[in-house]
Amino acid sequence: MLKYVIKRVVLMFATLFIIVTICFFLIKLLPQDIPQEAAQQEAMMERLKAQGYDKPIYVQYYRYLRNIFTHWDFGTSWKIQKMQPVTELFIERLPPTVLINLYSLLVSLPIGILLGIYAAIKKNKWQDQVISTSVMIFVSVPSYVYAFLVQYFLYFKWGLLPPTVYSLADAGGSWFTFQMFKSMLPPVIALAFGSVASLCRFTRAELTETLTSDYMLLARTKGLTRAQATSRHAMKNAMVPILPMILGGFIDILAGSFIIEQIFSVPGVGQLYLTSINQLDYDVFMMDTVFYTFVGLLAGIVTDLSYGFIDPRIRMGEK
């Protein structure tokens, strides 16, 4: 087991390394935009030279990696925040993205799973039909449509404007104030529609499968009521695939949703990415790329490995 985990982690970093290398070269090949103003130009050239940007591209790459390993330096932002280290800029933008997605996951988890369980228990009855049909629709409709609907009805029709928060100070100086939470509600709601629907669909599918299996019949035969059998036997087994998915979802929180951040002007990681490509701020773009790749790989590996921890029957890495 430990051997398998180590193997997966090593493989993950190897993949990350290759992707980062390819992206680095592709991004470095893009034309660099030097500012017109003499003072700025000089400052930029100096900093660039210090990072070795007048050397061949593989030397640059070597320095880039060395800077990351020695002092966690991903380069400098030139356009978005003049001369600010990218890591600082990035860490500033992380909390809104994480919080919004965390809230929306926390809201949708209980609703989605409960709806899924209810639909599975009432399989092929009208309750199931209603839930399944609406889930089908809610899964398919793109997330930005919910964002528009939330905006239209909350803002425009009902006038329930949440407070606009421009800075941390506005919301009382912390990410966790009630004011901040209220201002985050519209994107949270918009995100929740889709995740409730997909959780519900997944739960229903898994639970219906376990409900029709033989051990459920045995459980009923030995005298358990339907509720007892469902909660003690079916639920536990249905959770085997559901829990890893939830764990993966928690890691995906980091990546956030571009379109929701764009529509609700959330100053998050996704918006940073979009600004960086619009203004051609390459170091920021590069850092975002590394981050998204890492988050994706991590979510995959956690999902895979958690199967082994949740279900003792599954032995990881066996042929």
């Binding site: 592709l26 893009l30 899964v139 930005y144 764009q262």
Partner: protein, 528 residues
């Protein structure tokens, strides 16, 4: 029981007879045709009503996209009118018969703003320039933008502003523009006069004096005398008296009049000989539009932010999005099938190496791939090929994975061994013997690629990473992106594209799921 058994044993031999001696015994022919795999899938697909409905809706949307330019709209792709940009849906027939699609919006006005719009109707009704049209006659005018005027509401206690009266009015946005000054040649002027005589519609209206009673000389809608915007009557000594807004109100005109007191319809502003002499005229834009185009402005889906017909833009957006999705689906199918087949069939080291390659591609975020392609090649190749490349780079992975799984399932089966023993080549075994088994999976995922591509295209356009919109073509995502900052005031700009995308997504998912179930033989008989 035992008695009969004994009896059977003791039946005498002569009692036995041949049943059909001398007849040839052959297999009876099948009464029905055998049901093949595809036929079977088709039969089961037809049982799934949801999928059928979804397929029909997709077909309708496609038909709409291809037939619109020819049948449903009288505009062509280059037709635009800046004065009728962002207008709500309007259709005269539907408005007169069903009361929908009237092109109206509800807005709040103060009294002065309301009077300007009411004035358009009154001015349009004043065909002879006499200035004697009453409020009631003006309100009944065909060109009256104010369709309904609500009761006045007092708004008091507003911080930082005076108390004011607000009227909530229903406004026809197509008539809101009202009058306009135009500079035309004399020949054009004559043509308009002819057209007016033929149709009985009036385009040219009297010019307005540029004096102290004219609030905004460039705005042709102030044809009546005002003092700082409030309508007034002016007596012989030049004293102004305000006109109250009440039944029977008559606005005092501010027309340019000649020595005989007749209103003047044109002003010579310079220019060459008889035909090319430039005239300044005041036109009612609604009728001027009719004169130029020969029909009234009506757009069933409204107009987009630049003044193009939204229905046409939508049709062309659907076409482009579909085309991209279809091309991606076909290319993915080709690459994915070949890649997956080789991986799955040969296994071992080949599989390991190829799996690592697809692992790397699969973990590169798609949005990064799309961005890099756009930044590198958009200026050379154009955005659409770049978008296709981005999809093709990572899009086939899912297909390859599915094909690989299918190959692992089938490659060690006896019939494959038999084929190999008989000397079939690898290529023959792959394509003739194993591949057809995974056809169902492949077709299903080909179909399910389409909604994915349509969604991510719309997302990339919306985020501004891909810029597909031109005068001729547009995509569904570009339409959404155009609407994104202004749609609160013009909901139809967002409504139609979002509706079409949502419908397409829902229907394609339903359709794809139906296909998947139909192609899965293990589900036969489970549905009931």
């Amino acid at each position: 029981m035992s008695k009969t058994a004994v009896n059977i044993k003791s039946i005498p031999a002569e009692k036995f007879a041949f049943v059909n001696r001398g007849e040839k015994l052959t297999d009876t022919k099948f009464v029905d045709k055998p049901v093949g795999y595809l036929k079977d899938a088709w039969i089961r697909f037809c049982k799934n009503k949801g999928s059928i409905v979804a397929a029909v809706i997709i077909l309708i949307i496609l038909l709409f996209a291809f037939l619109t330019p020819a049948f449903f709209t009288k505009y062509d792709q280059t037709f635009m009118d800046v004065y009728y940009a962002k207008k709500a849906p309007r259709n005269i027939w539907l408005r007169d018969h069903l009361g929908i699609c009237s092109g109206t919006v509800t807005r709040d006005f103060n009294e002065r703003g309301m009077l300007v719009l009411i004035g358009i109707g009154i001015g349009a009704e004043d065909t002879q320039g006499t200035g004697k049209v009453t409020l009631e006659e003006g309100m009944a005018s065909y060109y009256q933008p104010m369709k309904e005027i609500g009761d006045p509401q007092e708004i008091t206690g507003m911080i930082g502003s005076k108390d004011k009266t607000i009227y909530t009015c229903e406004l026809d946005t197509y008539l809101e523009y009202g009058f306009q000054y135009q500079s035309i040649e004399q020949s054009e002027y004559k043509k308009i006069k002819e057209w007016e005589a033929q149709t009985g519609l009036q385009v040219l209206y009297p010019l307005v004096e540029e004096n102290e009673w004219n609030l905004e000389p460039t705005n042709a809608n102030y044809w009546y005398k005002t003092k700082k915007g409030t309508p007034v009557t002016v007596n012989a000594r030049g004293k102004a008296k305000e006109i109250a807004y009440e039944p029977g109100m008559v606005l005092e005109d501010n027309y340019v009049r000649d020595a005989d007191g007749n209103p003047v319809y044109y002003m010579f502003t310079g220019g060459g000989d008889v035909d090319t002499a430039q005239y300044k005229v005041r036109v009612l834009y609604y009728n001027y539009y009719r004169y130029v185009n020969g029909f009234e402005p009506e757009y069933l889906f409204g107009t987009d932010s630049q003044g193009y017909d939204l229905m046409l833009r939508l049709a062309s957006g659907i076409k482009l999005s579909f085309l991209v999705a279809l091309v991606v689906s076909i290319i993915n199918f080709t690459i994915g099938a070949i890649y997956g087949a080789i991986e799955g069939y040969y296994g071992g080291t080949t599989d390991l190496v190829m799996e690592r390659i697809s692992d790397i591609l699969a973990n590169t975020p798609f949005i990064v791939v799309a961005t890099l392609f756009q930044l590198h090649y958009a200026s050379k190749l154009g955005p659409i090929p770049c978008l296709l490349f981005a999809y093709v780079t990572t899009g086939w992975l899912g297909m390859a994975y599915r094909v690989r799984t299918q190959f692992y399932r089938f490659k060690n089966q006896e019939y494959v061994m038999a084929a190999r023993t008989l000397g079939a080549s690898d290529a023959r075994i792959i394509w003739k013997h194993i591949f057809p088994n995974s056809l169902g999976t492949i077709i299903t995922s080909c179909v399910l690629v389409i909604p994915g591509v349509i969604f991510s295209e719309s997302m990339l356009s919306f985020l501004g990473i891909v810029k597909l919109g031109t005068e001729k073509t547009t995509s569904l995502g570009t339409l959404l992106a155009d609407a994104s900052s202004i749609w609160m005031n013009y909901p139809h700009l967002m409504l139609f594209p979002a509706l079409v995308i949502s419908l397409l997504e829902i229907c394609f998912n339903l359709f794809g799921n139906g296909l998947r179930d139909a192609f899965n033989p293990s589900l036969r008989g489970v549905e009931e």
